[in-house]
Symmetry: C2
Subunit: 152 residues, 2 copies
């Protein structure tokens, strides 16, 4: 994710027309957030992605690996690695699919839920830091717009 510089002041180049590019804005905000998130999650042996997998495993939605891959925009083989890691550490388990026996459902263990709860708190603090320049309302508005852009 490039150099870990959590920008603190508006750079000169932000004046360029490219400063309006949605792609660039998304990349930049995502990059700065990732640095914060991964730093905070490292206390729990997690990274952004393994945390996402763990969260969904804890959600009660009983996601299959395929669903995780689609939802997280990952290659199925990457999900294998992430789940392998979490499983070896006893945070999640692979369960056989109910209607489809090819699929594996990822469910959390009690320990997984314990870790997740703690990590979630740390993560929320990161988001607050990342969006510190926005008001409460703007924060909610941003999330709503992102969700609408993705899913309508």
């Amino acid at each position: 994710m490039g150099p870990q510089s959590t920008d603190v002041e508006k750079p000169r180049l932000a004046a360029a027309k490219i400063g309006n590019d949605v792609g660039l804005l998304l990349a930049k905000l995502h990059a700065t957030g990732s640095v914060l998130n991964n730093r905070a999650l490292s206390d729990y042996g997690l990274r952004e992605r393994s945390f996402s997998v763990l969260t969904l495993a804890c959600s009660g939605l009983e996601p299959t690996q395929r669903e995780l891959a689609d939802f997280l925009s990952l290659d199925p083989s990457q999900v294998v690695s992430l789940v392998d890691d979490l499983e070896h550490r006893g945070l999640v388990e692979r369960a056989q699919g109910k209607q489809d026996r090819r699929a594996k459902i990822i469910v959390s263990t009690a320990e997984g839920r314990r870790i997740h709860a703690k990590a979630r708190i740390a993560l929320d603090a990161c988001e607050e830091t990342q969006l510190a320049r926005l008001t409460e309302g703007e924060n909610a508005e941003l999330r709503a717009l992102l969700k609408k852009a993705l899913w309508g």
Copy 2:
């Protein structure tokens, strides 16, 4: 960038609490946009990043490579590669820094500006596609919020 699936319907997993994570929302929207952008830019031999560099070279701001690295959240060595490529194709040139002779200023050539103008049009079409679910006002609001979150 994972699999190139431009999500078309709301996935089941979006219901999870993680569907509110700013980090995940940014990653997903950025991922889907990147697929579109890179596909469109390939017609001009560009990718998202080389396009960003080219855009800033065309901006008149006379950015140094260090500024490009900071602004684009890249390692300086990655900027070297990007500029090398653009320079070999005659789209930009390295000029000696004015106050600082260590620095190299990246400026566009006439050909670079020609290519950039075309690519920009294609890119704008991509953004429109990417944010098709938003109204004109929401689109502007999203950009404003992203910029505010980054630079206040």
